[in-house]
């Protein structure tokens, strides 16, 4: 079965969605991400949707679900690279994606999560 690659960058996981998502692929991505968040103690998930020409309520729901589950696992989700026409359409569709953080690009998204500092996320206890 197809799956979407998940890359680890510092404390974050990066997912780039480049294909038209169908149900099984979306479900598989949610499951893979939750496993990897726990496995890598990731503090954040970056979802790059710059390749997506449209986001309908199915994809919107997937993004919202990923954000909710990640939050329960103590990881922030940032959706990056949304095209302007997609943003206009989403708002008109009635999907403002509340609860989903966004950034214009992956660099800013990483900064929101806490950046790439190369530390293992378990070291973060030092900050307290």
């Amino acid at each position: 079965m197809d799956s979407i690659p998940i890359l680890k960058i510092g404390n974050a996981l990066l997912v780039t969605i480049q294909v038209d998502m169908h149900d099984q692929l979306a479900n598989r991505l949610q499951e893979d991400l939750t496993t990897r968040i726990v496995q890598h103690r990731a503090r954040g998930v970056l979802i790059d949707i710059s390749a997506l020409e449209i986001v309908d309520s199915f994809i919107g729901r997937m993004l919202a679900n990923i954000a909710s589950v990640s939050r329960l696992l103590d990881a922030d989700t940032v959706v990056v690279g949304m095209r302007p026409e997609v943003a206009i359409t989403l708002v008109e569709l009635g999907l403002g994606l509340p609860g989903v953080k966004t950034a214009l690009n992956a660099e800013r998204g990483l900064a929101m999560i806490g950046g790439v500092d190369g530390r293992d996320s378990t070291d973060d206890a030092d900050d307290d």
Partner: protein
């Protein structure tokens, strides 16, 4: 060339992708702006998924209109149970399935023309169109 039509089946998830691709090709050909294309394709995606998830599948008829107005019209027919209360189904937040409930009302806002005809036990037909500005 007044109008040309093509009919696509909606029987599985991949068919939704195909409907989106064909609507995009026609929307580009007819000269819709990028925002207009995106709105039309998103509405088509919502309606194709409705037909598949709630309407037991059906078909989409995609039509290029190039008479006085230029644009693309898409008609979705499903073989589902029909919608008892169409007005309610068009309101935001309505959903009988697992969706966010924005499908039908949201799709209506994204297009210039929207007609829905539903008969209990016979299925639902939705027609949408977006015109070149």
């Amino acid at each position: 060339m007044p109008t040309t039509t093509e009919t696509l089946p909606i029987k599985m998830g991949d068919d939704i992708v195909r409907v989106r691709q064909r609507v995009r090709v026609r929307a580009t050909e007819v000269g819709l702006s990028l925002v207009d294309q995106t709105k039309l394709i998103t509405a088509a995606s919502e309606l194709a998924r409705n037909a598949l998830d709630y309407g037991k599948g059906g078909q989409a008829v995609i039509e290029t209109v190039s008479e006085q107005r230029r644009g693309v019209r898409v008609t979705f027919c499903d073989n589902g149970p029909g919608i008892a209360n169409v007005e309610l189904a068009l309101s935001d937040g309505y959903s009988t399935g697992t969706g966010l409930g924005h499908g039908l009302g949201g799709a209506r806002r994204l297009v210039d023309e929207f007609h829905i005809d539903s008969k209990i036990g016979q299925g639902t037909t939705v027609t949408i169109a977006r015109w070149k500005r």
